[in-house]
């Protein structure tokens, strides 16, 4: 289904959704930084900036409680979180690179163990994508096979039009349902032209060749030159739309506390630190190697996909200027 929505009606749609109790999550300015956050009013949405963090946290929060406990005498009381209480959500203004990562996460969280926390949120969320009209030289979605108008992962997709308003196209029942729920705000598609799409400069990688090299080069001196400079923070993983490692910790005292799940990053020294004191990835290049391997080999081995959508966040935010696009490009030029 293809529709048109004017800028004015778009605002009205968001306000209406908020009013009816739907959680509307969209890019929003938070203490100076644009993040995907629940809106209190449509006017808060910031449509023209790529948020610092990806949209994955609508389903996979930075940190969430999964259980709490309290001990009285010999009695222990456990309280579970009921996923049924998660609110209906519309995730709106999602960039194609962020939206394209959602199916990638779906695969992980529903593969062996079904993560009800993730899946229940996923079920209750309608994803509204937004076509990209600007790019910088860190953007490389096209290099990993995603276009600035990629609709993968979106239930509904918005393309901004010359002269304002959006062309809306639904790609799922959820998308259609969203249009139908407020059909008065939508009109038939106009002939207006869409704004020109962004044009990332990076050339398309030969991902097969990259994987082929990775398949053979777990041990390679190149890793040292690639990642000696890595300082081992988690910035790249935490801003990545596709990274999905997490940790589970109990916080509190012996008497009372909560079990929480929170993001983890393979760059951390503690990530593979064993209780014995042994650490199989004892040096930073080995940890960084895991990041590349996971994205371009392991995930492909398991799910046939690449774990990178080319959003470029890790490139922009790496404290020491590590450039994953440059690295993959370099690998793609190596002899297999």
């Amino acid at each position: 289904m293809q529709k048109y929505i004017s800028q004015q009606n778009f605002t009205a749609l968001l306000d209406a959704l908020i009013k009816q109790g739907t959680r509307v999550v969209a890019p929003k300015l938070n203490a100076g930084t644009v993040l995907y956050e629940p809106l209190a009013a449509a006017g808060e949405m910031v449509a023209d900036q790529l948020p610092r963090r990806s949209g994955k946290e609508a389903f996979f929060p930075l940190c969430e409680e999964i259980m709490s406990y309290e001990k009285t005498g010999q009695q222990v009381a456990l309280t579970d979180i009921d996923p049924a209480r998660f609110p209906e959500t519309v995730l709106i203004g999602v960039r194609p690179c962020d939206a394209a990562a959602i199916p990638v996460l779906d695969a992980v969280f529903s593969w062996d163990y079904k993560d009800e926390f993730f899946l229940e949120r996923r079920r209750k969320t309608t994803v509204v994508g937004l076509a990209c009209t600007t790019a910088d030289d860190a953007c490389f979605c096209t290099a990993v096979g995603i276009s600035p108008a990629e609709t993968r992962g979106s239930d509904l997709f918005l393309s901004p039009l010359v002269g304002g308003g959006y062309r809306c196209e639904s790609y799922s029942d959820k998308g259609e349902a969203l249009i139908n729920s407020h059909s008065a705000l939508f009109a038939e598609p106009s002939g207006a032209e869409a704004l020109p799409l962004a044009e990332p400069q990076t050339e398309k990688f030969d991902l097969k060749k990259v994987k082929a090299w990775l398949d053979e080069h777990f041990e390679d001196p190149a890793w040292d030159s690639i990642a000696t400079r890595c300082v081992g923070c988690g910035a790249c993983a935490f801003v990545c739309p596709a990274c999905h490692c997490f940790d589970i910790v109990d916080e509190g005292t012996e008497k009372k506390g909560k079990r929480r799940k929170s993001w983890d990053a393979c760059g951390f020294w503690k990530f593979t630190h064993h209780a014995s004191g042994h650490n199989p990835r004892d040096q930073q290049p080995k940890r960084y190697r895991n990041r590349i391997m996971h994205k371009f080999k392991y995930y492909d081995d398991k799910f046939g996909q690449t774990l990178c959508t080319g959003c470029g966040r890790c490139i922009r935010l790496c404290p020491v200027g590590i450039d994953i696009a440059a690295i993959v490009e370099e690998i793609s030029k190596k002899e297999v």
Partner: protein
């Protein structure tokens, strides 16, 4: 003989970090002298104020303390030569940091109480307790402890309020 006890609606929680040689002994003396003071204070004994890590103060506030007292030997009286001098510097700096992040320093008291100053112990504890009582509960850290990240929250009051406004 004893002053009238008044009942209060708010009983603050006051945590005292004290050194064993001077202030703990001073508090003992207050006891042996049967002096009376509010029952809100909980005393943690350290060998020396030099052992008191600023993190403990932070931890105390996080655990719900409404007031924190750090007390040790007067300068020059340290059982360990200079532990209290090191502590003095450390806390001079730490309190400025807490102040800067928005902790009201009226909730954080430092004092020198010697083993002979049972009366001073009573005075310091009473003053702090009553001051904190007048200020009301220390809500900052408690509220913080209740907050999860946004995406983990099911229904935040903020969200509810925002909805009701539309």
């Amino acid at each position: 003989m004893h002053p009238e006890k008044t009942s209060h609606t708010f009983e603050p929680k006051v945590i005292a970090f004290v050194c064993t040689w001077c202030t703990y002994a001073g508090a003992d003396l207050a006891g042996t002298s049967r002096m009376q003071y509010p029952s809100n204070v909980r005393v943690l004994k350290f060998p020396c104020t030099g052992r008191i890590d600023p993190v403990f103060i932070l931890k105390a506030f996080q655990q719900g303390a409404d007031g924190v007292l750090v007390s040790g030997c007067h300068p020059g009286d340290c059982h360990y030569i200079a532990g209290n001098f090191h502590a003095r510097r450390r806390f001079a700096v730490f309190r400025k940091l807490l102040e800067f992040v928005g902790v009201d320093l009226n909730r954080l008291q430092f004092s020198w109480v010697s083993a002979a100053e049972g009366g001073k112990w009573v005075e310091v504890v009473t003053d702090l307790t009553e001051r904190v009582r007048a200020m009301g509960p220390m809500t900052e850290f408690k509220e913080l402890a209740l907050e999860e990240q946004w995406s983990g929250v099911i229904d935040t009051p903020e969200l509810k309020e925002a909805f009701s406004q539309i």
